[in-house]
């Protein structure tokens, strides 16, 4: 039996849900890569918890995408049987962990968006998305708090931790613009009240990130050209490597169960 990559009929809402599901799965998987490598046992558990929260969000979203698509796909097929160009996640989410400071900075940038995003989505006209949002909002609020506390301590810590935290800011900043993109298909969903306009979350994100960076004595880069492409499947080389690990078992032994 061979299993090739699945095809997905990406209606605007299916595509929208897959984009958010992929963000959560890929970032969650990245955090799982810390298992066995955490700086201290306590932090390893924290990273694992956050990763599991995100993978849980991804599962709910994939299950909803499967229901919307109605083509016999399910969460496992979306996760294990799509190639990198079919993944719709933010480039920020697939960015390698780097050092602990980079991981926390990436988490801060994402969570500072996810927190107000899910809060706003809780009043979506789509009942399923509203329910997923209500659960995810509490999780994201904690992720934001955890990442903020670490960024503040690393930035306002030793000379070396400050330097490395600043490098993380500079390196990741160009990946933050993609979160606020909204293409034509999404704009129609915004107009219908199904989803929120990400541009409306910009001020909240700027406020949160600005205040954390300033407490961390870190310099906020000037916003210039932003990386983009993840939403339409144009990914960095890092995603392919991530998927080759994550999908290894299902690709090598198709349909394996245990």
């Amino acid at each position: 039996m061979t299993t090739t990559s699945i095809r997905v009929n990406e209606t605007p809402l299916v595509l929208y849900v897959l984009r958010r599901a992929d963000d959560a799965l890929i970032l969650g998987h990245r955090l799982s890569e810390w298992i066995g490598h955490g700086p201290i046992l306590e932090e390893e558990m924290a990273l694992g918890n956050i990763g599991l929260d995100l993978i849980g969000q991804a599962r709910s979203l994939y299950a909803y995408a499967a229901e919307l698509e109605g083509a016999g796909n399910d969460e496992d097929r979306y996760a294990y049987l799509r190639d990198a160009p079919q993944y719709r996640n933010l480039l920020l989410a697939e960015h390698p962990n780097g050092d602990f400071g980079q991981t926390m900075m990436r988490q801060l940038f994402y969570s500072a968006f996810a927190d107000p995003y899910w809060r706003a989505m809780a009043s979506s006209r789509d009942g399923t998305l509203a329910a997923i949002a209500a659960k995810s909002e509490k999780e994201s609020a904690y992720h934001l708090r955890h990442a903020s506390e670490w960024v503040i301590r690393l930035g306002d810590g030793t000379e070396e931790s400050h330097e490395r935290a600043q490098e993380a800011v500079d390196q990741l900043w160009g990946y933050t613009g993609e979160m606020f993109e909204c293409d034509a298909a999404e704009r129609a969903l915004v107009a219908a009240g199904t989803v929120v306009d990400p541009a409306a979350l910009r001020d909240a994100w700027d406020g949160t990130v600005g205040s954390v960076l300033s407490r961390a004595t870190l310099t906020r880069p000037k916003t210039g050209w932003m990386q983009s492409g993840g939403r339409s499947g144009r990914h960095s080389e890092h995603l392919g490597l991530l998927l080759s690990v994550m999908q290894h078992l299902q690709r090598t032994y198709p349909g394996a169960t245990w």
């Binding site: 924290a46 708090r145 506390e149 301590r153």
Partner: protein, 99 residues
């Protein structure tokens, strides 16, 4: 910082969890963390993953004053012979019901 501490950057903290309203905080374990805020977060992540708690207390381990195990005889043995301190010598009237 307690002298001779093995992990000066991440001292030891004791964790107490209250599982329900009306119950007391109960000692559940300890952890290492850089400061009180991170200790509270670590306690949440380590000790409340399965819905164990509604409230967390964190105490620096160094702030706990403990009895010396060597004093066991002086501290605790004198009570062994004083069974009359247990409220087991009274008949509870039936009307009181279950206590």
């Amino acid at each position: 910082m307690t002298p001779g501490q093995k992990t000066p950057n991440t001292p030891l903290w004791e964790v107490f969890i209250r599982s329900r309203n009306g119950l007391a905080h109960k000692h559940v374990g300890s952890l290492h963390a850089a400061d009180a805020t991170l200790a509270l977060q670590a306690a949440r992540d380590l000790y409340t993953r399965r819905g164990e708690g509604l409230s967390i207390w964190i105490v620096p381990s160094g702030a706990i004053i403990a009895s010396d195990p060597a004093d066991k005889g002086m501290m605790f043995e004198p009570t062994v012979s004083k069974v009359y301190r247990h409220p087991t010598f009274y008949d509870v009237p039936d009307e009181v019901g279950h206590m």
